[in-house]
């Protein structure tokens, strides 16, 4: 059973007035599930092709190497790969794990353990709950916020405010505006070049005044190597802390599934500026396998919480470690 939105969202004592999907949405939902299967199967097929079923039967030196190769090709990274494969190899040699299907299942388990670092839920208990979305340029922050706003309203009946605090990229505010309209949520807009902290401050005040449950804060994409911009981000975090008397309830870093080993550096640098609580892994609908998310979870203890699997507003869903790991090894 893959993880559901109800499992993912921690609403506390908020009454979950989940709107039941209306009848006219039903065919659309079926289409969604089909698309989901298709998108996941692309990456699954790709790896299944790499890892022939006979691989786990032989488990000789060549097979171990092939296994390592497959994980590296999935962007899991040389270090994490060596760790996981090393553990499996040791267990097989010690006779604790049989070859064949059992070895494959154990591998999936080991990968899933890695991915399940830390708290796997999205904390929306505070009122309003502030969710800060950060990441490097072009990973899909604005799109993810649009989709998340739609899901929060639909799955949990929450009233959502989005804060357009990307005051740098030309037309970013317009882009979020278009998403807010689609998602049916409120928006506080900034002028290009305006101070991001000020926008967030206004958005929280507006959310309180209008009785919104959640504030999703869109920030400008920034390369993690730019000290000044990371400093600015830290300031946004401080503004939220000052305004609420507590930090944001979630700070999610958006990572593009096509990202390679640099993703680890990104997560490290952002974690230095703000208190990261999770990863949103986007663009999993291509052939990229998003193995970098495992490296981030394994090395930094920051769990993946959301995955983006398509361009439409419904194409965002809770991350399921077992399913993801199985897809990685073509289970």
């Amino acid at each position: 059973m893959p993880k559901s939105w109800a499992d993912l969202l921690d609403l506390g004592d908020r009454d979950a007035a989940a709107a039941a999907p209306s009848p006219e949405d039903a065919p659309k939902r079926r289409g969604f599930l089909r698309r989901l299967r298709e998108s996941i199967s692309t990456s699954r097929e790709a790896l299944a092709a790499e890892l022939g079923s006979s691989l786990f039967e032989t488990l000789d030196t060549a097979a171990w190497e092939q296994l390592e190769e497959a994980l590296i090709m999935a962007d899991v990274g040389a270090r994490t790969t060596a760790e996981v494969v090393g553990r499996l190899e040791a267990e097989v040699e010690a006779g604790r794990v049989e070859g064949g299907e059992a070895a494959r299942e154990r591998l999936v388990e080991l990968l899933a353990e890695l991915a399940e670092a830390g708290r796997g839920t999205i904390d929306l208990r505070p009122d309003p709950a502030v969710v800060l979305i950060v990441g490097v340029n072009g990973t899909g922050k604005t799109t993810t916020i649009g989709k998340l706003a739609w899901h929060l309203r639909r799955e949990a009946g929450l009233k959502v405010m989005v804060a357009a605090a990307d005051t740098y990229r030309a037309a970013a505010v317009e882009q979020l505006g278009a998403w807010a309209e689609r998602a049916g949520c409120e928006i506080v807009r900034a002028e290009t070049g305006q101070d991001a902290g000020a926008v967030v401050f206004d958005a929280i005040a507006a959310a309180e005044a209008r009785g919104c449950d959640v504030v999703l804060v869109d920030t400008a994409g920034r390369l993690h190597t730019r000290h000044d911009l990371m400093e600015e981000l830290a300031k946004v975090g401080r503004v939220i802390g000052k305004r609420l008397g507590r930090g944001p309830s979630e700070t999610l870093i958006v990572v593009d599934a096509t990202t390679g080993q640099n993703g680890l550096r990104q997560a490290k640098a952002f974690a230095g500026a703000v208190d990261l609580t999770g990863v949103a892994l986007t663009k999993l609908d291509g052939t990229a396998k998003g193995g970098i998310a495992l490296a981030i979870a394994g090395e930094l203890g920051i769990p993946v919480k959301l995955i983006g699997v398509g361009e439409d507003i419904e194409d965002l869903r809770p991350f399921d470690a077992g399913e993801f790991s199985a897809a990685l090894v073509g289970g």
Binding site: A170, H227, D256, G260, T287
Partner: protein, 450 residues
């Protein structure tokens, strides 16, 4: 850019370099390290494997081990192979005999196509051409507005028709307009698309068919991982792109994806984007980049940058002053501004031979552009007399300057002291005794250990 890759390779190779005699086992050990360094840099697994096998074969086969300086020879082999992997000596855009030259931009979502479109327009305009951009990304919300704004800032004519029309029609219409206007180049921005999205790939092929671009550029994010090769192969199948524009190379991405794309598709990297500002797009020089990775510096790029950004007559004047020991803080300020025109300090320094290593040692020290802001503020808070003759700056003047520049007395003191050292060094330089780049860096640029 390419920093970590460069560091790792340098470490491995300096190990080899220091050996008088190499065994096959030495080479194997180095090759393992190189393979790992390449993988960590996101070079495609298969490409890395082949690269290492090639280098090993050449290093062991061609009598390198018996040569006078085998370590150096291996370094040479790696350097040559690396440059070859990235595309030999650089290639240029193809320009049409009859304008406009049409350039089609393609790539995944979020790779940076829209920004790259505006930057490329700006680069061509900087070369004295006229350029237009066509907004054919009707998919992403507000992409058209983004290009309208950035294209306008770049000084390009922007052709947009909102998001309702078919992108193929917009492209064709824009081409007609650009032709009528007699523009030298038209750059077509398209929607980001997944390489497995057949419908959108067909649309891209259709735009290509109708506008007959002279160049199709694939925009590849420098941070892309192993999948870059799949992406490139699929785009090659749909549009037969001619070259790669590497975006976001200003982070600490190791850009292995770029190397791999070239290796697998044979298409060269033509441009690299090195910052968020519109003028931060550069021609990509594979041979120079290989040398940079190996820490041999990129003096040619630096000279070109200097030629482009630094006023020649001012530079001559400055040199004369340095020789005659008439160099003042006013001149220093001017020099500071010239250097800053060339881009962030760290990227300028990265191009200097030997500086890669010095920078590493200074890491944690701030070779920070904000430090330069502070220096500027301090000098600007001085009177003309003080700038010409810093010796007059004593207690109360120092306090006034510190207050005026929002710094403190120590900072002012440090600046005047460093300036004094700098003058001494200039005298040495004028007399032909050149100090090492490292000592210049420490002494002059206000880099302080934190």
């Amino acid at each position: 850019m390419f920093d970590q890759l460069s560091e790792r390779l340098q470490g491995t190779l300096s190990d080899l370099r220091s050996r008088g005699k190499l065994t096959e086992a030495d080479v194997d050990k180095a090759m393992r390290e190189i393979r790992l360094a390449l993988l960590e840099a996101d070079v495609n697994f298969k490409v890395a494997k082949r690269f290492v096998a090639d280098v090993r074969e050449q290093a062991i086969g061609a009598g390198v081990l018996e040569s006078l300086d085998p370590g150096q020879m291996v370094v040479k082999v790696v350097n040559e192979r690396l440059a070859e992997l990235m595309g030999g000596s650089g290639r240029e855009l193809a320009f049409a005999a009859r304008p406009p030259t049409v350039i089609l931009m393609a790539g995944l979502q979020g790779s940076g196509k829209t920004t790259a479109t505006a930057k490329l327009a700006r680069l061509l305009i900087g070369e004295g051409k006229t350029a237009g951009v066509a907004a054919c990304d009707t998919q992403r919300p507000a992409a058209v507005e983004q290009l309208e704004r950035l294209g306008g800032q770049a000084g390009a004519t922007v052709y947009s028709q909102g998001t309702e029309r078919d992108p193929v029609d917009i492209a064709e219409w824009a081409l007609g307009q650009a032709r009528t206007a007699g523009l030298d180049a038209l750059i077509i921005d398209t929607a980001g698309r997944l390489h497995i999205d057949e419908e959108l790939m067909a649309q891209l092929a259709e735009i290509k068919k109708r506008t007959k671009p002279h160049d199709v550029l694939l925009v590849v994010d420098a941070m892309t991982g192993q999948d870059a090769v799949n992406v490139a192969e699929q785009f090659a199948a749909a549009t037969e792109f001619d070259g790669v524009l590497m975006s976001k190379l200003d982070g600490d991405a190791r850009g292995g994806a770029a190397l791999s794309v070239k290796a697998v598709t044979g298409k060269p990297i033509l441009y690299a984007s090195t910052g968020e500002k519109l003028d931060q797009l550069e021609r990509f020089h594979p041979d120079r980049m290989a040398q940079r990775i190996l820490g041999m510096g990129d003096v040619l790029s630096l000279i070109e940058k200097a030629e482009k950004d630094i006023d020649a007559s001012e530079a001559e004047e400055l040199e004369r002053k340095m020789r005659q020991d008439r160099f003042t803080l006013e001149d220093f300020l001017g020099q500071l501004k010239q250097v800053r025109k060339m881009g962030p300090l760290s990227s300028v320094l990265g191009m200097m031979p030997g500086m890669g290593k010095a920078m590493k040692e200074l890491r944690g020290a701030s070779i920070d552009d904000r430090e330069l802001d502070r220096l500027e503020a301090i000098i600007l808070s001085m009177t003309p007399e003080e700038r010409a003759n810093p010796d007059v700056i004593r207690g109360s003047r120092r306090r006034r300057i510190a207050a005026g520049s929002g710094t403190n007395v120590q900072a002012v003191k440090q600046l005047t002291r460093q300036f004094e050292q700098m003058r001494k060094m200039m005298k040495l330089m004028a007399s032909g005794k050149m100090p090492s780049p490292e000592s210049l860096l420490r002494g002059q640029l206000g880099a302080r250990r934190r």
